[in-house]
Each structure stands twice: as C-alpha cells, then as structure tokens.
C-alpha cells in the first residue's frame, strides 16, 4: 500500500529544470511557512496571557522592519519570476530540427498523425533523444495536452493552432491527460506517450499498414482541390509560387511583412482576402467549409516540404 509515488517521473531535460525552479519555490514556501508558524507558536506561548515574560518597549510600528519585509520578499519573488520565465521560453521555443507531429483533439479522444502518415489514437510513439514538436488543434471544445512526466502542457483550441515541443531522454511509457475540462468523458480523454529506443521506433514505424507521408497526401490534395492550377509553374492565373516560401518573410499588399508559418498558410487557405501577397490580385477563393482540419494539416505539410527545397526561382 505504501509504494505509491510522491513525485512524478522525469523524462525530459526541461522537466529537470522545471523541478529545479519548483524546488527553489518549495524551499521559499517551506521556509516562510515555518518561520511564520514557529514565530506564531513561540509568541503565543511566550506571551501567553499571564506569563511573566517582559512586555517592556513593545512597539506598534517599525518602519525599518516593515520595509525589510516588503523588500526581501520582493527580491526573492523577482528572482523566482526570472528563473521561471527563462525556463518557460525554453519550454516553448522548439529547435529547428524537431520533427512535427499533428494532434487533433475532439470529444473525447486524441487523434495523432505522424509526418510519415502513421496515425494513432490516444497514443503517441516517439524516439528517445529527438526533439518532437506537436502542432495541435481541436475539432470542438477546448482541450489541453498534458504530459506530467515532461512537465509540459498546452491548451488545444478550436479554430487555431497551438504548439508544444519536448525531447524525451528516458525510454518508458508516460501518462497523457486532457487537462482542460471538456465534457462528460473528460477524465476518459487520456492516453500514453511511448518513448522508444530509435531502433524500436523505426521498427514500430514500419509495422502495421504503410501509409503515405503527410506531404505526399498533401501534394495530391494540392492537385485535386485545384491549388496547382494557379500556384503551379504552368498556371494561367498568376498566383505566388509556394516553393521555398515556408519560414520566410512574405511582403503583403499594404506594406506589411509576415512570416509564412502554419498560421499564415492556414489563414491564406481559409481567409485568402485577409493577407494578400504584394503584387498579386486578390482572386483566391476561400476554402472555408470545403476542407477539413485533417486536409489542412496535410496541405500545410506539403507546403512545408516545398519550403525545405531550394527556392526555385520567381
């Protein structure tokens, strides 16, 4: 009975840093709580009603003391703030070489799609030691993707992408929870993260039915939805070429510049009028309602793949 855990497993480097900040905070908490409790008990006993302790020279205010207990906690808390914030930025700034996995939350399951095209439900298999970035969205209400062993969590919103990343350093099976209340079976929206040796991971990837990569499916959609009719090299309508666009700045009509990221591509497909590339006519039709979240992810993967190629001319 007494072999239950009191502290969560730690399976990323970041988790260690979060724990370090937490332990620092815990020390402050315990220290101050102990100080207050000990003082209260000590005073309550020493100066109990009727005790003979001297009450001479009692004061009702003491400026220096009061300044001290404003300034000292302020310094300590700013220190905590600084440390916690540094780790926070590390937690969400993904390295460039992270492989991308797509996550779709819905009542009440997690649908996960690997860049190679492999799909999973409520399970995520990843290789140890490699950074993985999750691109997440929801089909209905707000969910939250939470892996306690990685000390990381991010709300998953409908109509918008959110992201998180991690680099597991320990092989094992870890809890995946939905942390944002999402309805009746909220507590059933759980799963596991399987961190595997790279060789096992390769083996796992090859097992089961082989599907095409996301980018390949995206390429097919790009043709079948008619995108290539305008964005292709031999197009009759002049539209921007998408080769090498991803991750680069794009000048817009009206003078502003945006970086072509997932959000920009998604917006351009769904809301083409909102950010027209400088020098082009606003002629692209919207694909709102004609394309599913799933298909959007594939097209984004395709455009990303194009982006990794050399910029292929104007």
């Amino acid at each position: 009975m007494w072999d239950f855990p009191l502290f969560p497993e730690r399976a990323t480097e970041i988790a260690g840093k979060v724990d370090a900040v937490y332990f620092g905070e815990l020390a402050v908490c315990v220290g101050f709580t102990a100080l207050i409790c000990v003082l209260i008990l000590f005073y309550a006993i020493k100066y109990r009603k009727g005790s003979t302790a001297s009450r001479a020279n009692a004061v009702t205010h003491h400026l220096a003391l009061e300044i001290a207990w404003i300034v000292i906690p302020l310094i300590i808390s700013m220190g905590i703030f600084g440390a916690a914030t540094v780790v926070y930025f590390e937690m969400f700034r993904a390295p460039a070489d992270a492989s991308e996995v797509y996550v779709l939350g819905r009542q009440w399951m997690w649908q996960i799609q690997h860049p190679g095209g492999k799909r999973e439900i409520n399970e995520l298999h990843i290789p140890v030691g490699q950074p993985v970035k999750l691109m997440m969205t929801s089909q209905d209400v707000i969910h939250s993707f939470y892996i306690p062993a990685f000390r990381t969590k991010q709300d998953v919103l409908p109509g918008r992408y959110t992201s998180m990343w991690f680099q597991p350093n320990k092989v094992g099976k870890y809890h995946l929870f939905c942390a944002e209340y999402c309805g009746t079976k909220h507590s059933g929206m759980i799963g596991s993260i399987h961190v595997m040796e790279p060789a096992d991971y390769e083996h796992w990837l090859e097992s089961g039915t082989q599907t095409e990569t996301l980018a390949t499916s995206g390429a097919q959609l790009f043709k079948s939805l008619g995108c290539s009719g305008c964005h292709g090299l031999n197009a009759t309508v002049r539209a921007p070429l998408l080769e090498g666009v991803f991750g680069h700045p794009v000048p817009l009509e009206g003078g502003s510049v945006v970086t072509a990221d997932e959000k920009y591509i998604r917006d351009s497909i769904l809301l083409p009028m909102s950010q027209v590339v400088a020098g082009y006519k606003p002629v692209m039709p919207t694909f709102q309602g004609r394309i599913s979240e799933d298909e959007l992810l594939k097209i984004i993967a395709y455009i990303k793949a194009l982006g990794r190629n050399e910029r292929s001319g104007q």
Binding site: L271, M273, S274, P285, Q288
Partner: protein, 233 residues
C-alpha cells in the same frame, strides 16, 4: 421604516431616520449615484472592450457592418440626445432654484426628446430587420447585401454578424436604460408637480439627472464607435 427616533421633532419630512441632516442625506445619495454609475461604466465597458478586440481582429467585417448604419439618423439621434441632456440640466437648475413649473416643463421636454430618440432607434431597427441584419438564422449570408467583396471567407460573414450582435446588444442595452429613465422621469414629473422639489431638497431630481447624463455619455461613445470610425473606408 420605523420612527423611534429620539430627535425626530427637529427633522424635516424628507430626512430618513438614519441620517443626521439633509446635507448628509444629499451627499450620500449623490455619492451613491456616482458609485452606481461607476458600475454602469464597467457594465457597458465589458461590451466596449469585447467590441474593440473583435474589431481589431477583423476590421474589414466590422467596417462592412458599420456601413449599413445610417449616419444621418445616428447624427440626428445624437443631436436629440445631447439636447435632452441640456433640458435635463435645465430641469435640475430649476430644481436648484425651486421652480416647480420649470422643473415639470424641462422634464417633459427631456422625455419628449427621449421618445423621439427611441422612435428613431426603433425605425432603424426595423430597417435592419428588413435588410435581414438581425443576427441569428435570418441573418443574410448574401455577400452583396452585406456589402462585402465577393469571395470573402465565411469568417468575415460571421464577423459581420458579430458586429450586429454588438450593435444590437449595446444599443439595446442603451435603449433599455432610456426606457427606465423615462419611467423615472415620469415619476419625477409627478413629484415636481406636487412641489416636492425645493431649494433645500431636490436630491431625487439631481440623481435622475446624473443618470440621464450618463445615458447620454454612453451614446457619445457608442455613436462614433458604431457609426463613424469606419466611414471613410
């Protein structure tokens, strides 16, 4: 309210049992009204805040929505409401000088202005209804009718509808405040006719005035936000 008050014989009729003198009572009522208005500012303020944020996220849709409103009627209504504020200020002035006839006259004028405002507002609402601009299932999705460029995504239509959600919520809430104001003013007219408001005691009249000026103040901000800011586009 019970009257077991030891010094009751010194007290004027309008003085409630728990106040020391009329000055204290008047100041309390005045401060209470201001506190209430602070609450009202935040009440409308939440809507203003949400409106501003959504306008920031989709200016095109909000501009398109705004273009459906009639600047002419809006301006006329602003004129009417500002005038009603003037007549209300004059009614209070008449309260301060203790002239019941003038109090009644200016209150009635204010009520007339308020009625005109509400009439104009109602006709604007009716026009919106005819143009299928009432949010909900009957809201038009015809891009031409909405004045949106062809080829905009569904979201822009939704945001145009959202403009009207805020338009009707904010102006409706404002109109609701005016209806309450009309009721209170009618009551004040009755009291004023009985000569209840004298140089020494016109607190209810003053509070009504504060309320009415606040209603005017809200409109001073609603009018440009809803009708004007996107007019040049």
């Amino acid at each position: 309210m019970s009257i077991a008050e030891p010094r009751v014989e010194h007290h004027p009729a309008q003085l409630a049992h728990h106040f020391e003198d009329l000055g204290q009572q008047h100041e309390s009522a005045n401060l209470g009204m201001w506190t209430f208005l602070a609450t009202e500012v935040m009440f409308f303020g939440g809507l203003f805040g949400a409106f501003c944020i959504y306008r920031f996220t989709d200016p095109v849709a909000f501009a398109a929505g705004s273009h459906h409103l009639s600047v002419l009627w809006g301006t006329i209504n602003t004129f009417v409401l500002l005038t009603s504020s003037l007549t209300m200020a004059l009614a209070i002035h008449a309260g301060q000088t203790g002239e019941p006839k003038k109090q009644v006259r200016y209150l009635l004028l204010t009520m007339l202005m308020a009625t005109i405002f509400l009439g104009v507002k109602a006709s604007e609402y009716y026009e919106d209804y005819e143009k299928h601009l009432i949010p909900g299932p009957s809201f038009t999705t015809d891009l031409k009718e909405l004045g949106l460029p062809t080829d905009v995504p569904e979201h822009t239509v939704q945001h145009t509808q959202m403009f009207f959600v805020f338009y009707f919520f904010m102006t409706g809430l404002h109109a609701f405040h005016m209806v309450i104001g009309l009721g209170v003013m009618a009551w004040m007219v009755l009291l004023a006719r009985k000569g209840r408001f004298t140089r020494d005691y016109y607190t209810p009249l003053e509070c009504t005035g504060l309320y009415w000026h606040f209603v005017d103040l809200v409109w001073v901000f609603l009018f440009p936000l809803l009708y004007l800011i996107d007019l040049h586009k």
